[in-house]
């Protein structure tokens, strides 16, 4: 039998993960305002305007607001999130790639 060795584990310490509840869903989108949030990365504007076009064609009773974030996706954007909370009912957020 080979000699047994004792070695250290090389990993760091991960954070605790606390469960988070999803926001309650809507019963319908009709008559509601859906923010379509553009993360402004790799042609995401074209992607999200296509999403907006789908709603206009298939669910015209839904009001959509195309909303580019205030800076780049690597920065938090509380002003935009607050606007959506106050003026919107739901959100679709997308990135290109």
């Amino acid at each position: 039998m080979s000699a047994q060795m004792v070695v250290h584990n090389p990993m760091g310490y991960p954070p605790e993960v606390a469960g988070k509840a999803l926001a309650p869903r809507l019963d319908t989108l009709n008559g509601r305002t859906v923010y379509i949030v553009d993360c402004r990365f790799d042609d995401s504007d074209i992607l999200l305007k296509s999403v907006q076009a789908w709603f206009a064609e298939h669910m015209p009773a839904v009001k959509t607001v195309y909303k580019p974030i205030n800076s780049v996706y690597t920065r938090d954007d509380p002003a935009t999130w607050q606007e959506i909370k106050e003026k919107g009912d739901a959100a679709i957020i997308g990135v290109g790639h």
Binding site: Q4, M5, P15, V17, P24, S50, G94, G96, H97
Partner: protein
């Protein structure tokens, strides 16, 4: 995720199919594994509006359901108990691995993606204890925090955990304060950008000589134990202390980057440089020992010398070859540094950096059409951030500057076998004083 989890607005996230694993991993680590995510075909970038419209009006390659049906259902279908609870869990990092044979442990480290796939030195208790003798800091003291990228969880590391990775890299114990200082910058040599980044470290001050680092011939190559193993330790500690660097999950670099094997680490050739050392430029005393980390390194341009007639054009051509979203680090052999003084008339690093900023220009129309400029700079410009907003006001044919002086670095390295020099695309990730970690 913030809109849904923090602000209480029902949200669906749209991604391309290439990002299934990583996005599911991210929401799990944020305690909401059932966050509604819908996947489109990949890629979006570069496709026509008609093609992208086809993605949106079409079927998800992951769920095989119509994309917009999934989106609408994601906003309207009632939540179940799992949605309302989320996922709570904790993970322990045992200090030691289970005892095993050398062969079994080497296989364990490979299987757990704890290595760079090259052989390592197993971090035995004795070896780690020897490494610990070269710092006055306590084993359980927190050195810093690391993450693979934005949105991923942030991990914490201790002095002893850095020592473990230093042993694995083959570093001699006397290098340990340098490695601790690198860890303390918080920079990652295993950033998870799809652009396949590598990192680089410049070492200044007396520590260079104390541990016999190379600043001369072959300094950026595999010819010096300190340079080589400190750089490798930077890579290993990054991946293990940030929670991994696994392709498709915690590493998304499309092509990978061979520079990431080494994370080029070298001493500035202060003795032969005609310029002020990097750490002095940054406000440290010359007699302090300092590491300066650079991240986002993807390529280098090079040339030989500076010719009297057209040197300025040659340098401009090299700078125009870089992606304008990158920041340049001029890596000058001492011969080349003196040529910038003698031929270019640029007597100090400050004058050279000013010349670079004045001469690195391109038409505004071309500049704003670069994809990375669109991704990272255009959004900031449109919301008024200067000097980007000023560049956005320029006419399409106006020659606008690529960089500000704060983005440009100059380092002198090399053994004067010839006057070669390079421009590395890499941005500063901060400096840390080695003396604080002795």
């Amino acid at each position: 995720m913030s809109i849904d989890l923090k602000y209480g607005v029902p949200t669906v996230c749209l991604h391309t199919s290439m990002f299934v694993t990583v996005t599911r991993s991210v929401v799990r680590m944020n305690g909401a594994p059932r966050m509604r995510q819908v996947y489109l075909p990949h890629p979006v970038m570069g496709k026509s509006p008609e093609q992208i419209g086809g993605y949106v009006f079409g079927v998800s390659p992951i769920s095989k359901k119509p994309v917009m049906q999934e989106v609408v259902e994601g906003l309207t279908q009632p939540l179940n108990d799992e949605d309302r609870k989320g996922l709570t869990f904790s993970r322990a990092t045992p200090r030691l691995c289970e005892p095993a044979s050398e062969a079994e442990l080497n296989q364990l480290f490979l299987d757990n993606n704890w290595t760079d796939k090259l052989p390592i030195v197993l971090p035995t208790v004795e070896r780690v204890a020897e490494m610990m003798k070269h710092t006055s800091r306590k084993a359980d003291e927190v050195v810093g925090h690391h993450t693979a990228t934005h949105f991923r969880e942030v991990w914490e590391c201790t002095v002893e955990q850095v020592a473990v990775n230093a042993v694995m890299a083959g570093a001699r114990p006397e290098y340990f304060p340098v490695i601790l200082a690198i860890a303390a910058t918080g920079a990652s040599a295993r950033g998870s950008s799809t652009s396949s980044m590598a990192s680089m470290v410049v070492v200044n001050g007396p520590i260079r000589r104390e541990i016999e680092m190379n600043a001369g011939t072959g300094a950026m190559g595999p010819y010096n134990q300190a340079n080589a193993t400190i750089g490798r330790a930077f890579g290993l500690l990054s991946q293990n202390l940030q929670g991994g660097s696994v392709p498709g999950d915690t590493y998304m670099g499309s092509m990978g980057n061979a520079l990431a094997y080494a994370s080029p680490t070298f001493a500035e050739n202060e003795e032969r440089s005609p310029f002020e050392p990097l750490h002095v430029q940054r406000g440290y005393r010359a007699d302090q020992s300092v590491v300066s980390a650079f991240i986002g390194m993807r390529h280098m341009a090079f040339t030989l010398g500076l010719r009297h007639a057209h040197w300025a054009s040659h340098v401009r051509n090299m700078m125009r070859g870089m992606d304008p979203n990158e920041s340049p680090v001029f890596l000058l052999d001492p011969i080349a540094a003196r040529l910038f003084q003698d031929v270019g008339g640029l007597k100090t690093k400050k004058e050279l950096i000013a010349w670079i900023c004045e001469n690195a220009r391109m038409p505004a129309g071309e500049y704003w059409d670069y994809q990375l400029v669109q991704n990272y700079l255009y959004p900031r410009a449109t919301f008024g951030e200067e000097p980007l907003a000023g560049k956005l006001r320029a006419a399409a044919d106006e020659m606008i500057p690529l960089w500000t002086p704060e983005q440009v670095n100059v380092v002198v390295v090399g053994g004067e076998t010839n006057g070669y020099w390079r421009i590395a695309g890499a941005r500063s990730a901060g400096s840390a004083c080695v003396d604080d970690w002795r």
